[in-house]
Symmetry: D2
Subunit: 349 residues, 4 copies
């Protein structure tokens, strides 16, 4: 969780362009966009979105070239043993999927890094996952030194940039793969804690802006990096913009009798809350001119009007402590099983 820039979303399938082009009629277009391959399927309660981009496609959606897999369980709750079970199964399959070209062997070394600040509950997912590796140390089916794990703490806590810390350790361990576990920021509060994203493009704090010192990626380290992230927070201004737009859309659709009762349960509805175009004329009497504004325009107004403190607030679920523990456990368990069955077993598939 980047402390300075939570305005952005870290989830690829919240990228404006992906969401906007996902309306029913435009879906085909996106699927056929040069440089973007997108596939969506449902296994039980889990929606799996697989996106591959090359350089041109990456530019289109404002993300980095590579593979992105998001697993979502829209109906997940913090006490949902079955949901987490299903999520873990797909997570293990996705770990296999995203790493199958790396040709890891039983002799491979893996460095696991848990990012984040353990003193802020929703940001503790990385350190908590590392704690779980420590607790389970004696029963891990690895030889000593094959799996190395650290939770470096946040920059402010140690005096060394996180990216520099990881580089230092990686230079020493010389791993064949680095897994980085981190909390993410989402745009849509419905996504909070219900999605897990894997990407082989690594971690890019400051996102598009590109803060090379903090980057943790193949480019910066010379080692394949897979980032595993769970959206745990929404930035406060993002929440406000999202809430205002939701008001406009819902009222617009109610006025237009545009109720789509069945769609609420379809796969797509999870990701396409913004799909229906707002009937601005219909709602303008109630909400005025700004109901026709773009998200960016509303956000710009808020940034000008709201006090600066507002930018320094984040939003997280009241059960954030339970969520963060369960996701950390699930990730540790899934990674361990994948390493055991897929990497360190003598007859690797």
């Amino acid at each position: 969780m980047d402390k300075l820039n939570l305005m952005r979303t870290d989830l690829i399938d919240e990228a404006t362009e992906v969401v906007q082009h996902r309306t029913e009629k435009e879906k085909d277009t996106l699927y056929e966009s040069p440089g973007i391959q997108m596939n969506e399927e449902r296994k039980g309660r889990v929606i799996i979105t697989h996106i591959e981009t090359d350089a041109s496609g990456a530019e289109t959606i404002g993300k980095k070239e590579g593979t992105y897999i998001t697993l979502s369980v829209p109906t997940l709750t913090a006490e949902d043993a079955d949901g987490f079970e299903q999520l873990e199964q797909q997570f293990i399959l996705s770990l296999h999927d995203i790493h199958h070209q790396l040709h890891l062997t039983p002799q491979s070394k893996v460095l696991i890094i848990g990012l984040g600040n353990r003193t802020i509950t929703p940001d503790a997912i990385g350190p908590l996952a590392i704690d779980r590796f420590h607790e389970e140390m004696f029963s891990l089916p690895f030889e000593h030194g094959q799996v190395v794990f650290y939770a470096p703490g946040v920059t402010g806590q140690t005096g060394l940039e996180t990216g520099e810390f990881v580089k230092a350790i990686a230079d020493k361990v010389k791993p064949d793969l680095i897994l980085v576990i981190d909390a993410l920021a989402a745009r849509n509060q419905d996504r909070l804690c219900k999605t897990i994203q894997l990407t082989n493009t690594g971690i890019h704090p400051g996102s598009g802006v590109g803060n090379a010192r903090n980057e943790i990626s193949f480019e910066s380290l010379g080692v394949p990096v897979t980032a595993i992230g769970v959206p745990m927070v929404v930035d406060a201004p993002v929440l406000v913009v999202d809430a205002i737009e939701t008001v406009f859309k819902v009222i617009s659709s109610q006025i237009g009798e545009a109720t789509k009762p069945s769609s609420a349960l379809s796969v797509g509805s999870w990701l396409r809350s913004t799909e229906a175009p707002i009937n601005v004329e219909a709602i303008k009497p109630i909400f005025g001119e700004w109901s026709g504004w773009s998200s960016e325009e509303i956000r710009a107004l808020l940034q000008e009007v709201l006090p600066p403190h507002h930018q320094q607030l984040f939003v997280t679920p009241k059960e954030t402590d339970t969520w963060v523990t369960r996701h950390a456990d699930m990730i540790q368990s899934g990674v361990t099983k994948w390493l055991q069955d897929d990497v360190f077993s003598s007859i690797s598939p």
Copy 2:
């Protein structure tokens, strides 16, 4: 921090009536309201608001009869040693002020309870303060058994209602005073972490709704109870309503050229962000009809339109971990000094 109802504010000076009547011309009226005595002064960087209500005044503002003292440092930051120093000085004086009629003696017993869930950062202020008492145990100037302290954890963690837990301990200890330290919910995000409230009316989870089982007060326990609270969170829907209203007000005032440059620095401005009436006609073209709605009407719309998850989100500063630690330290330090100098010294004033 009550897990189910963060809609409310726990701060008396955010009570709608107090805020509404605080406009310059109505101030006198409130000050003279039957049953309400309000006094506001500034000492260095600290604004001290002292409110006394009798039964009739309490009904007017929708809070319980008694004394409320709020100390605010609008310019406080998490790393502000001077600000916390000034706040602690006034806090100690306020502890003296609010307890002077209790006639505590060096033989008095004090029970200190730290409420909240230590696994959620902003809710950990009570348990952290109790931790500090433990750490400083050996240097505390009290005889064994004169000061008893517990952090009972939240109801969901233990199976016993918090109020029942406190009653059980109080029946055993038979204290002359109970201090309860807790995180509060605020309405205005500007207040977060910058205010501390003392009241001899105790703790009333569920507020107006009145959940007697959870109440921690003189009425429920037969012992004087002083609640010490710091606003650490804003409920997400409250934040959204507040943000929308701020947009309306700021734009309205800009259109009306109603800029009041000096007021930004006055004592009152901290508490009277809502004072200027919105010029609805001026802003209606931009924001539509709802710019004339009341807070309650906007809130009702949001509650209908936003998904239920939204109600289960809270907002807190990104530096919540530093804030909560500093406030817990300050409260522990202030309470200790007050007990030492004012209660347990042989020549009590």
Copy 3:
């Protein structure tokens, strides 16, 4: 773990009389002692000792009247998944055994107390078990309020005697059973972390001396109390006496060619390290007169000669952190399964 008196043993089968009479030829006598019924059996790797005493038998062994069950796995290691699995199975059976006369029903209420100081690793077993109950809260098969749990912390940390704390909570909860989880002191360092003791006689800090204020028992609370304890420490002077006596015995047996190769693997050998009489005349040239002294005489000498600091030291295994976590987990898991299957299931056996 009592902070002031670790000289004693908290394990009944280390009681001098039990151990002394356990030599092969005297065993029958003890078994037939009026008021003492002792039964020992082995299930897999677990040795189960069941002792029932009435008032006269209790006086003989210097312990309180009631039932004592000790489960020991002499070959247990901290990373021994199989050993802990076997221990848990017998632990669940023993919980059934020791409570079967209480006639608990699905409507019964159970209060679980984790004693000890979480900041001292080997003393943290009680608080850690309570932490585990908290973590598993949402998946516990109990209705709210049927199971209440607390870790009160040590007296020095809170200002209220632990026994008073438990009484306060018990008066409120009115449970049908109180389970108390605690770290114990052992006499023999071989027993450390490899034994678990259950007794319906409760907790008696200060042991025989009888410190009524601290007692947690049916007599002090009016509610059945079952104490669940694991020996985690040996008092330093006890370790020294034990080491000196072991030297005398081993050398004596070597000189006398009194090697008993098979006994090392028998059930009894675990508990009867002191059985063979020392041949004092044979070893006196090497070790002098004191090789003929009793344990009490050696201890008295040490107490006189060693500096007072020595009395304030305790001994614990280097892997104390792993041990304490595993035992806390096992106890939480075993108690939960017993409550679920035996108490709260609709058709209780």
Copy 4:
């Protein structure tokens, strides 16, 4: 704290040769030994021992060539504010003393490493000191990146040798000085928690045995390394040997009427508990032949006779939690003041 070899002492002034030669008449000899310069003085309640060795002197005492400073407060208790205050004053002076040849400047970079396992109370001193640096981060008078600190955890917890971890970070940070904070093992239980040792020879796990991979020193890292250690544990067999020898000595001196009432208060008595030669003939009737054995012979017997578990036990004070916290606080405070006044102030002395 090395997990496998606690037999040794980590304190130079417990080195057999230093202690043995410290008897009054031989003192001069040692002081004049080629390659060893030893100076002892008392400031208030603190005894300061300063030892400088060159290669030949280092060989004599079985330690590494360099500077050793030990600060001892024989009367220190865990709740002793005055004692810790005096110790901190001397500690700051010793930091100045041991570093004055390094010519640190306000531009120097310092890497601080807290060794040890935070889940074992007496071994947590390093991690706790690092925690304190984190807590005080915002008030530290350093520029970002000038002071970098980490608590790497133990090898078993991370998969990377501690020495390798420190090398990785040091290669990145390129510090001018590395401070390593660690718990030590003592031989004499009287020393526990009452001494702090500084040495510019670094950390040498496995001591004489020499495990180069774990070494943290100028030789292994190419950067000056100062080790700051506090004896927190005694190995169980060491405690037993020490106790037996103490019995022999005390009884021997009592028989010989060799009471030296004044020496008990002299500076030397703290370090010279072994000074008086045992009158073996006088005590042989009571204690036998072995009262004339050397420490090594007694230890060899114990190692043969005591069960292997015995070697895996350590001894620590019952107040180990308070001790470890106070020492960690004192070290953090002393290091910060030294850095501020001596290194980073613009006019460095």
